[in-house]
């Protein structure tokens, strides 16, 4: 069962989770994805919600549907790389805005990061 | 679907049915044992067997016979009570959730219950008659010992005379009467059950105290049936004034017809309750 937050729409969280699995290479480019039903059972969510998440991923092009073999991860490695980068930027921005809340200037935050490594 | 309902209804009552038949057989055997007491021999020979042992045997024998009558009465009444309770339990308690959500018609449910229950009552009834006949024969054999041939020699002419008297003096067509009697006997269990099931179903119309309402319904139905029967009998009593023999038979037929009509009405009541007014607690 996937741990999902209780206050945000479930399909949004499913999209995020699947994006991470794709950009991190858990699902390789061109790899066939499990069926909606299997993934829904694994995540313990409604199949319709999983379907909705897939529709979103198809919209962004990360997942492509082939009538013969079901759904697979796109083979467009540029798209995957770009998505990965976009998600990384988002995470970084989250980090810096969080640090800003705590009163850290950018340089201080950077120094802290270096120190923690 | 009716066949399947009958199959499962049969499966769910046959064990208790067999138990009751077994009890009847056992009771009959006890009765037979009772007639093996020397007491019965004395009736024929006039010779008294003295001694404490014989005395105790006689008391036990007598008690056993009383038990026999009580147990047999319990067998038929017990079967009836069991079937009515079974009907109530499977139709109107939690178990009813199963039968009322099956994709079957309400007629099929009712017919399966009345049919299977009636057949078992018939079985028990026939077993009681057989038991009584068997025990009568045992009693006669005990009393007359080896002189049964003599008994038959006397019995047959008496029966002949009785039949003659019925036919000539009371103007009775015995063949018709016998046939009618058989039909009534066969129909009686089904009629009785249909009426009782109807009373149980009527009880369901009440918001609460549904078992109590079922009992009150049954009392009400019995009173109504007696009343209607009496009124019709009264009419015939006037019409057939002076012809006691004929009146007696007509009166019995009226009783049967009232039962039959009541069963018809109450079948419809049960059907109406479970198909249009069902309110499971």
């Amino acid at each position: 069962m996937w741990n999902l937050d209780s206050d945000r729409p479930i399909y949004v969280q499913l999209v995020e989770r699947l994006q991470i699995q794709i950009v991190s290479g858990q699902y390789a480019p061109g790899q066939k994805l499990p069926s909606v039903r299997e993934l829904a059972a694994a995540a313990a969510v409604n199949p319709n919600t999983m379907q909705k998440a897939f529709a979103e991923l198809e919209g962004s092009g990360l997942v492509v549907t082939q009538s013969t073999s079901g759904r697979m991860v796109t083979e467009d490695s540029d798209l995957i790389r770009n998505t990965r980068k976009r998600m990384a930027i988002q995470k970084a921005e989250q980090f810096f805005s969080g640090m800003k809340e705590l009163g850290f200037a950018k340089e201080e935050a950077m120094a802290l990061l270096e120190e923690r490594l | 679907m009716l066949g399947k309902l009958i199959k499962y209804e049969w499966k769910s009552v046959y064990k208790v049915g067999c138990l009751i038949l077994g009890a009847v057989a056992l009771t009959t055997f006890m009765g037979w044992l009772a007639f093996q007491s020397p007491m019965w021999k004395e009736m024929e020979t006039g010779h008294s067997y003295s001694g404490a042992v014989a005395g105790w045997l006689n008391i036990i024998s007598g008690l056993t016979l009383i038990m026999y009558v009580i147990l047999l009465a319990c067998a038929s009444f017990g079967t009836l009570v069991y079937l009515v309770v079974h009907f109530y339990r499977t139709m109107y308690t939690d178990e009813g959730y199963l039968i009322h959500t099956l994709p079957v018609t309400k007629h099929q449910i009712l017919v399966s219950k009345i049919l299977v229950g009636g057949i078992w009552m018939l079985f028990v009834g026939v077993s009681l008659i057989l038991s009584a006949v068997f025990l009568c024969m045992t009693m006669l054999t005990s009393i007359f010992g080896h002189d049964m041939a003599m008994f038959w020699k006397e019995f047959v002419p008496v029966m002949d005379e009785l039949i003659y008297m019925m036919r000539v003096d009371f103007d009775v067509e015995l063949g018709v009467r016998f046939a009618l009697g058989c039909i009534k006997l066969l129909a009686a269990p089904f009629i009785t059950l249909t009426i009782l099931f109807g009373a149980v179903s009527l009880g369901q119309l009440a918001g609460r105290h549904r078992v109590l309402m079922a009992i009150i319904s049954y009392i009400g139905i019995s009173i109504a049936m007696n009343f209607v029967g009496s009124v019709i009998r009264g009419v015939f009593a006037v019409a057939l004034y002076g012809n006691i023999g004929q009146y007696m038979w007509v009166s019995m037929d009226i009783g049967f017809l009232v039962d039959l009509v009541a069963a018809g009405v109450l079948y419809f009541v049960s059907w109406n309750v479970i198909s249009k007014k069902l309110n499971m607690v």
């Binding site: 069962m1 999902l4 209780s6 206050d7 945000r8 729409p9 479930i10 399909y11 039903r37 829904a40 059972a41 995540a43 313990a44 969510v45 409604n46 199949p47 319709n48 919600t49 | 679907m1 399947k4 199959k7 499962y8 769910s12 499977t90 939690d94 178990e95 009813g96 959730y97 199963l98 009322h100 959500t101 099956l102 994709p103 079957v104 018609t105 918001g207 249009k276 007014k277 069902l278 309110n279 499971m280």
Partner: protein, 233 residues
């Protein structure tokens, strides 16, 4: 194809003071898992019993697959009551035969598979089983059917968390775009993730019928939290 369930003006009054279900109008689509939520005594079970022909409505109509509740609808609705309704003397395998005989859409293989994964002996008699196991048997019978509508009245109230997960998985695995599942419960948090839509009932009235994602998007909280807010005492 027509809607799966159409309820119009449905009312059940036990007497003048006790109106258990009050003028509900509702249409349930196919292919959804729908939560029927409300505090105790809000009329959930009464509504469910009317869907299954165990209670006669005082007013209003119910149509399932376009048909009034009757033989045809009962063949297409799989119902899990909120109580033990199987005779105690019966063996699990006998009950299996019973369902096999009466419901054309019952799959014996699926039932046997579920018994095996739940670790229930088909030869056991019902009255020898624990309360939770009895509930599992009843749920197994319901989910072994290929019905159009599954109506589950409090399916998870009496079972342990592991069985609860199994039940959720079973419902998900059994998902069929032609069929819907209606689940009544007050343990919302446990099943929230599998629900498409929720129906809130209060005092026998329909309070709300919307999708789970709608509630989360609009109110920024889980259905469970939103429910607590709406029904706060």
């Amino acid at each position: 194809m027509n809607e799966l369930v159409e309820i119009a003006g449905l009312t059940k009054a036990y007497d003048a003071q006790h109106v258990a279900v009050n003028n509900i109008t509702l249409t349930l689509p196919r292919g959804k898992i729908i939560g029927l939520l409300g505090p105790n005594g809000s009329g959930k079970t009464t509504l469910i019993k009317m869907l299954n022909g165990l209670l006669t409505p005082t007013q209003g109509t119910i149509r399932i697959n376009g048909q009034a509740v009757g033989v045809e609808t009962k063949a297409r609705v799989a119902y899990l009551p909120d109580r033990t309704y199987l005779a105690g003397a019966k063996k699990v395998s006998e009950i299996l035969n019973y369902f096999c005989d009466f419901y054309a859409d019952f799959s014996r293989e699926r039932a046997m598979g579920m018994l095996q994964s739940l670790g229930i002996d088909p030869g056991a008699r019902m009255n020898a089983l624990s309360k939770g196991t009895k509930e599992k048997v009843q749920l197994m019978l319901v989910m072994s059917r290929d019905a159009d509508l599954y109506v589950l009245d409090e399916p998870i109230a009496g079972v342990d968390p592991a069985a609860r997960d199994y039940i959720m998985r079973t419902i998900i695995n059994n998902y069929n775009p032609q069929a819907s599942v209606l689940i009544s419960t007050h343990l919302i948090g446990d099943i929230e993730q599998v629900l498409d839509e929720v129906i809130f009932m209060r005092y026998g009235c329909l309070l709300l019928y919307t999708s789970v994602d709608n509630i989360r998007a609009q109110h920024g909280k889980s259905v469970d939290a939103y429910f607590r807010e709406v029904f706060a005492c």
